[in-house]
């Protein structure tokens, strides 16, 4: 409980500090809007030219796009300490100060940054979800709403876990390892579309190794009434938990890796 209070307090301070340059903040927030809007424009233009992707209609595609972009930018916003700042903390040796404080390292890293500019990206994602679900005539029920919420939360943890893998590499190598970006940013770009679009190796990658298919798309497809896999519907409630499992495993690895942490000493 105390940790959550601490986190919220840090967030308030960080946001306040970012608001000190309102014009720059506004411009950057706007730039984010154009960026995510551009991504969505690509989907709209593809739908305009091709109409459908295998058995997925326009509305379904917008829905999957929205699911991914809301989750991804929630992570980028609230998990900024891991998604953006961690390599910097290691390189400059700032992580040392965290080790002296009576809180978990990962908690403090998470408390060290927030990125409120992403709010516009999240808004684009929400718009895509709303448009998508109305075009696909989704009849919303409490169960479906809960399922959506579960998918978003579990997707958040999955992405946080994947970004933490990059952090772990960074502990050993000091330099940030861009290769992991194939899982995070690559995962985002790929899994804006349903995984059954892809050839088998990519499908396996995004179902088993970085299970976007299980955390986001399986529940998403059940909400749309066109299950992605031929599994019974209740599995849609279980499969997103894989995101939390991944986060748990990565967290344990992170703790082990921290034992090998050598300060850069500057």
């Amino acid at each position: 409980m105390d940790t959550i209070k601490l986190y919220l307090h840090s967030m308030r301070m960080l946001i306040k500090s970012q608001m000190q340059y309102p014009a720059s903040f506004l411009m950057q927030t706007l730039a984010q809007l154009v960026m995510e809007g551009g991504e969505m424009l690509a989907v709209i233009l593809l739908v305009d030219r091709f109409g459908h992707l295998n058995r997925w209609e326009a509305g379904d595609l917008y829905f999957f796009f929205g699911l991914m972009s809301v989750t991804f930018y929630l992570t980028e916003c609230f998990g900024r300490g891991i998604t953006g700042n961690f390599p910097y903390l290691i390189r400059t040796g700032q992580l040392d100060t965290f080790l002296a404080r009576p809180r978990g390292t990962l908690t403090q890293v998470l408390c060290s940054a927030v990125d409120p500019r992403r709010i516009t990206c999240i808004a684009v994602g929400v718009t895509a979800l709303v448009i998508g679900s109305s075009m696909s005539h989704v009849a919303w029920t409490v169960t479906k709403a809960l399922l959506l919420a579960e998918a978003l939360v579990c997707g958040f943890f999955l992405l946080l876990g994947l970004f933490t893998i990059e952090g772990i590499f960074c502990i050993y190598s000091v330099k940030s390892v861009e290769l992991v970006n194939t899982l995070t940013y690559g995962g985002r770009s790929a899994c804006e579309y349903p995984v059954d679009t892809f050839p088998r190796p990519l499908r396996v990658l995004f179902t088993v190794l970085a299970p976007f298919a299980l955390t986001l798309q399986q529940p998403g497809s059940v909400i749309l009434g066109k299950p992605l896999f031929d599994w019974p519907e209740w599995t849609a409630f279980v499969s997103p938990l894989s995101g939390i499992v991944i986060f748990g495993v990565v967290w344990l690895c992170f703790r082990r890796a921290m034992r090998y942490y050598r300060s850069t000493g500057s």
């Binding site: 706007l30 154009v34 690509a42 330099k175 194939t182 690559g186």
Partner: protein, 263 residues
């Protein structure tokens, strides 16, 4: 002229230092390329288009290979203005615009050759329909290379204009992000321009952004007939000259009112 050449050589040496990062970058870009092609393939299977799919695949690979050319590449100037060390650059017996133009050109050319060459080899080895196809004809390849060179000159001029804004506003991250994004969309990096609605293409191919990579790629794949090539290159040349002239004017004005900070 010798001074510009040695500036170019210095930046070239800097650019080849980080080979590890280059390898990581190549693998990332190749992965993105495969993902995009998989998506477009599935869409094509549902509704075939007039343009053969191999052209789309080639388009994606060429965009990925020369991705580095599009990225804003010179963050030094901003720091120099903030810290006041721009004063040293102003003391050089060189034109400031030309100095930065050459720096950017070296970075973009060497950066994209380092990343592009291995990636194009990889893409050529992929099976038909996934990889890069050979150019439509030897003549098309020559036209495309000429187009690529003009595209490089054009993107450097464009970036120098962006930097001109940086000199004015000091913190131009928002502006820069917006211009970069406009670049990514209008260059055909996010979605090939050839897949934009046909009515949009008439306008979008005339914008300066389309001159960078879209024109050479269309010439390479044969999407644009060779009889169109001289006209397309003229448009490129026109934009390059116009943007360079505009940039020089802009920089000269900036230079007159520049404040040296520091202390």
């Amino acid at each position: 002229m010798r001074a510009y050449l040695s500036t170019f050589r210095m930046r070239r040496k800097l650019e080849v230092q980080y080979r590890g990062a280059v390898l990581g970058g190549i693998i990332c870009q190749a992965f993105f390329g495969l993902v995009l092609i998989a998506i477009y393939r599935a869409l094509y299977n549902g509704k075939p288009q007039a343009m053969p799919f191999s052209s789309v695949a080639s388009y994606v690979w060429l965009q990925q290979a020369f991705f580095r050319m599009l990225m804003a590449s010179d963050p030094d100037l901003l720091d120099k203005i903030r810290t006041g060390s721009i004063a040293y650059d102003l003391c050089r017996p060189l034109n400031l615009y030309g100095f930065y133009y050459v720096r950017i050109a070296a970075q973009k050319l060497i950066g994209s050759l380092l990343r592009g060459a291995p990636m194009l080899v990889f893409a050529l080895l992929l099976p038909e329909g996934w990889g890069l196809s050979l150019p439509a004809s030897p003549a098309a390849l020559l036209w495309a290379l000429a187009g690529l060179l003009l595209g490089l000159l054009c993107v450097c001029a464009l970036e120098n204009i962006n930097m001109g804004f940086t000199m004015r506003t000091l913190d131009s991250r928002g502006m820069q992000a917006m211009l970069n994004l406009l670049m990514m969309i209008c260059c055909g990096n996010i979605l090939p321009l050839t897949l934009f609605p046909d009515s949009w293409q008439k306008v979008i191919t005339l914008l300066p952004y389309a001159q960078l990579l879209d024109t050479p790629i269309r010439l390479y794949t044969g999407t644009a007939p060779l009889s169109d090539a001289p006209r397309m290159l003229l448009i490129q040349l026109g934009w390059t000259l116009a943007l360079t002239a505009l940039g020089i004017l802009f920089w000269n004005r900036n230079q007159r009112r520049i404040e040296i900070m520091g202390g």
